[in-house]
Symmetry: C2
């Protein structure tokens, strides 16, 4: 299958590596966000542009019947994005996999699985410590910010602190920039600290992690305890998950299962190369 990349930042570069490492894929080109979309010839396009720009690209591609995968990461807007793209995909026989990263993404699949294992109870998703790509991009977009790094610090029970390190542009006022960051929807709901530094580059590290815990009830039995941990290179994992989802998109399109889907709507086996028999024998 031929996979193209649209947008060539951290995630686009990681996706390129994952495509090249896949036994069943061929890189069909790397496109910048201002390239002509009509020139793209691919089975699936990985939309690796910033989250807030991806919908227009995915819509144009789906209208041409081309499958897309994105890692849209604003949790509260996923359902409306899915509703909008689903109609375009259904009408044009395309599959669009939304929010294909690790959260939203693979963590969502783990959360769904834990709900199926213990329908009553509490799940806490604790992120980091690590650099949030979405929050970093959002901070960089604020007027007066030359460079930024947003670190996510887990405080337990799903509560997080955001540590935002910024380099100011010449003449920018720290208090004005700080207020704009604190008012942004990415930061408005968490304890956030903005710190001016001389060099953001000196702090940069794409390590990240999660500690996802659930204590729940199976049937009438309480104290069922579950925990999912990872420590990972963030863009490398996101790029890899997008590439695995490109495979699922192709398989769904081949079966005539058109539409826009989130990862909890995907079969895990569709993410993997190899036959059904090979994967069942190796993994079940």
């Amino acid at each position: 299958m031929k996979i193209a990349i649209l947008g060539y930042g951290n995630i686009g570069k990681a996706a390129e590596e994952a495509i090249k490492a896949a036994p069943d894929m061929q890189l069909a080109g790397i496109y910048h966000h201002n390239d002509c979309l009509d020139c793209i010839d691919a089975d699936v396009v990985l939309v690796c542009t910033p989250t807030r720009e991806m919908q227009k690209f995915a819509t144009v591609l789906a209208a041409r019947g081309i499958c897309t995968v994105d890692s849209f990461d604003i949790h509260g807007q996923i359902w409306s994005l899915r509703s909008s793209l689903d109609a375009v995909c259904q009408a044009n026989h395309a599959v669009s996999i939304l929010s294909a990263g690790w959260d939203p993404g693979t963590d969502s699949m783990v959360r769904a699985l834990l709900m199926a294992m213990s329908p009553k109870g509490l799940t806490y998703t604790n992120f980091g410590p690590g650099r949030s790509m979405g929050h970093t991009v959002a901070a960089k977009a604020i007027k007066g910010v030359k460079n930024a790094l947003s670190m996510t610090i887990p405080l337990g029970t799903g509560i997080h602190r955001r540590m935002v390190y910024i380099e100011l542009e010449d003449g920018a006022d720290f208090k004005t920039v700080e207020a704009a960051i604190l008012a942004d929807d990415y930061f408005a709901h968490d304890e956030t600290h903005v710190i001016a530094v001389d060099s953001v580059d000196a702090l940069n590290n794409v390590a990240h992690g999660v500690n996802l815990v659930r204590s729940g009830v199976s049937g009438e039995t309480h104290n069922q305890r579950f925990e999912f941990n990872m420590t990972i290179n963030n863009p490398a994992l996101t790029g890899q998950v997008m590439v695995s989802c490109a495979r699922a998109a192709m398989r769904m399109k081949e079966r005539g299962e058109f539409g826009a889907k989130t990862m909890i709507e995907l079969r895990p086996i569709d993410l993997l190369p190899g036959s059904t028999e090979q994967n069942i024998k190796a993994l079940v």
Copy 2:
């Protein structure tokens, strides 16, 4: 949806509790393995008989177009079971979910997900300490064994010790019984110790657990580390997973997706009550 239970041991009883706790299910009856299968009126039957007896029941029910869920747990025989049942299900418009427990089952879904996140690397599934239901049933079936308990002890890197506590029948020879246990396919591949005790009942505890670890490569990035842990009541979790899979079976049948499937072939969202919108908003 109407869900019946066939077989009323540890798992059947746990499944009954999970059905009663489900907001969208009704218990359609509890049947013993020597009851008349033609009398069963249900959308889905949970086959909670011992692993080695389930295939005949699932086959008869699938031939009547009734969906089934089982927790068949002999890993090496799942593919051939699936091949055999799939043909019956396809011909009679039924769905049969195989090996719906926690391993095989939900652990299989986690292993598949970790492969999608880091295609190269090693996964180790470490079980216990805890009572293995499949191994306990296998030990109890050995001639001369009055009662048995098989404990699984994790030794790391997926290596396990089996501690088999047995009460002998009057006149049974320990050495003969021990040799029969050690030769059984359930025990032949692991370090196994057989210990005669006065009372198995005094040792019984259905707690179990898993520590599933993977260190892998995403794209070209090494040292991606993942860990899934749980400590659980074993039959309660197995019964709950079977009940969640009954829901998935119904949804697949309604969509015309007939056949025999393992859990890595299921969409996580199909395991959950509620609408697509509710689940995406709550979990993605």
